[in-house]
Amino acid sequence: MNNPETKNKYPGRRACAGKAVGRPVVIEHETDLDNVLEGDILISAQTDIAYVPAMHRASAVVTETGGRFSHAAVWARENQKPTLLQVDNAKGNLRNALTVLVNADEEYVAELEESCLEKL
């Protein structure tokens, strides 16, 4: 995947390499997990075992916290899912974005420019 035009890049820490583009879905409560559809980007403060089905449906995972051996980090490596940890205020910053790019290779998540969305 070539890097499309992006705006508002937010740095994070790579748990598992890879790139994905999708609709961001912010998780505030466990009941929000059903909103994550196939290919969406799951965005949350942290993850736990209840997130597993939604993490499988998501094309990438972004969390605000989490260390090297956090649940999200280990799960991402086990399942080869592009995942960024420690993205400050990811929920607040990406809540209203239409589409985001998770570039775990280069350790950032960014909103895609509208012009770019038309080409996708």
Partner: protein
């Protein structure tokens, strides 16, 4: 406990290289064994019904609610004094056992068979959570802090971040709770192709009993509504297990890498791995987010309005007594 019902497979010869990790796996098995024993005493049908009676909203809001209790309560700190790594593991097991007993005490209360008043159960819940907190995230000498310190030590003295990941991420035969969920749900669906009712769970054959109950215990806090939801929410493509050949290859490759380490590096890896087992295997299934955490969380919800809240000093005193590692004394409070 029979071999089929283990959350973690025995690690075989790796146990000789990683004694602390083997001990952590033993703790996971002993905690699950205690829960199984308590399930049997409490009565399994009654257990399923009691948990269903808590309601679906309480189930799905449990983790958030419990986190809110942890963050918004003033807890006694500094009771646990840092000791050796082995001491830490022993203390962790002690606190986890106390959490199990308190969870079942709460279940007795909610099923209407307890003579105790809510403020008495509440006091025990505060003590159990305080003790658990000595070893958890909020403690300056807890699990997370210890993992961070050991990781830093590895990176400063022993290897790169990639090597740290490769050596200390649990691999077969150790399975994180998240991976275990996939395997256990696969097995459960083979026994119950459709979401089961309480009667169907109770009628399950002796052969399939461990499969059914280990899934209910580890992954859905014994809740059949949550079980039904998993049937529709888990993508079918995610339910692909690694074959035993893949697991053996993974295990052999990891074992080979470990056997080539210097003794000091191996000892450090063992400590990190043992804490990762507690954090990634035991915590999700059997701590506050898991089955025994649910009834304790229900106590906190109910006691929110109780006026007879025990003072912090009293809780600290009670936790201090528990910290003498007198399991018999602690257990006697719950019998």
């Amino acid at each position: 406990m029979n071999q089929m019902s283990r959350l973690t497979s025995p690690i075989g010869w790796l146990g000789e290289l990683l004694p602390h990790t083997a001990e952590a796996l033993g703790i996971v098995d002993r905690i699950e064994g205690e829960i199984m024993r308590s399930e049997s005493i409490f009565g399994r049908e009654r257990l399923l019904q009691t948990v269903l009676d808590f309601g679906t909203e309480a189930y799905y809001s449990h983790t958030d609610y419990y986190r809110h209790v942890i963050r918004d309560t003033i807890w006694p700190h500094g009771i646990w004094v840092a000791g050796t790594h082995a001491d830490f593991l022993r203390g962790f097991e002690f606190s986890a056992l106390g959490f199990v007993w308190t969870g079942f005490e709460a279940l007795e209360f909610f099923s209407g068979s307890s003579q105790w008043e809510i403020f008495e159960i509440y006091e025990d819940a505060l003590v159990a959570e305080s003790l658990r907190g000595q070893f958890g995230k909020s403690s300056p000498d807890g699990l997370d802090r210890r993992i961070e310190l050991l990781e830093d030590q590895f990176l400063q003295e022993h290897g790169t971040e990639d090597e740290l990941f490769d050596l200390c991420t649990p691999v077969a035969p150790i399975r994180t709770a998240e991976t275990c969920l996939i395997n256990d749900f696969q097995d459960f669906r083979r026994v119950f192709p459709q979401p089961p009712s309480i009667d169907e769970i109770m009628d399950v054959s002796e052969q399939h009993h461990p499969t059914a109950w280990q899934f209910l215990r580890r992954h859905v806090r014994w809740n059949l509504v949550a079980t039904e939801h998993l049937y529709s929410s888990m993508p079918p493509q995610s339910l692909v297990e690694k074959g035993s050949g893949d697991q053996r290859l993974e295990s052999d490759s990891h074992g080979l890498a470990l056997s080539r380490l210097q003794p000091t590096t191996l000892a450090l890896v063992d400590k990190i791995m043992s804490l990762n087992v507690l954090n990634l295997v035991l915590e999700p299934a059997f701590s506050f987010k898991g089955c025994v955490g649910l009834p304790i969380g229900m106590v906190f919800r109910m006691a929110h309005h109780v006026e007879r809240r025990p003072p912090l000093d009293q809780i600290k005193l009670l936790v201090g007594k528990m910290n003498l590692f007198n399991l018999a004394e602690y257990k006697s409070r719950h019998e």
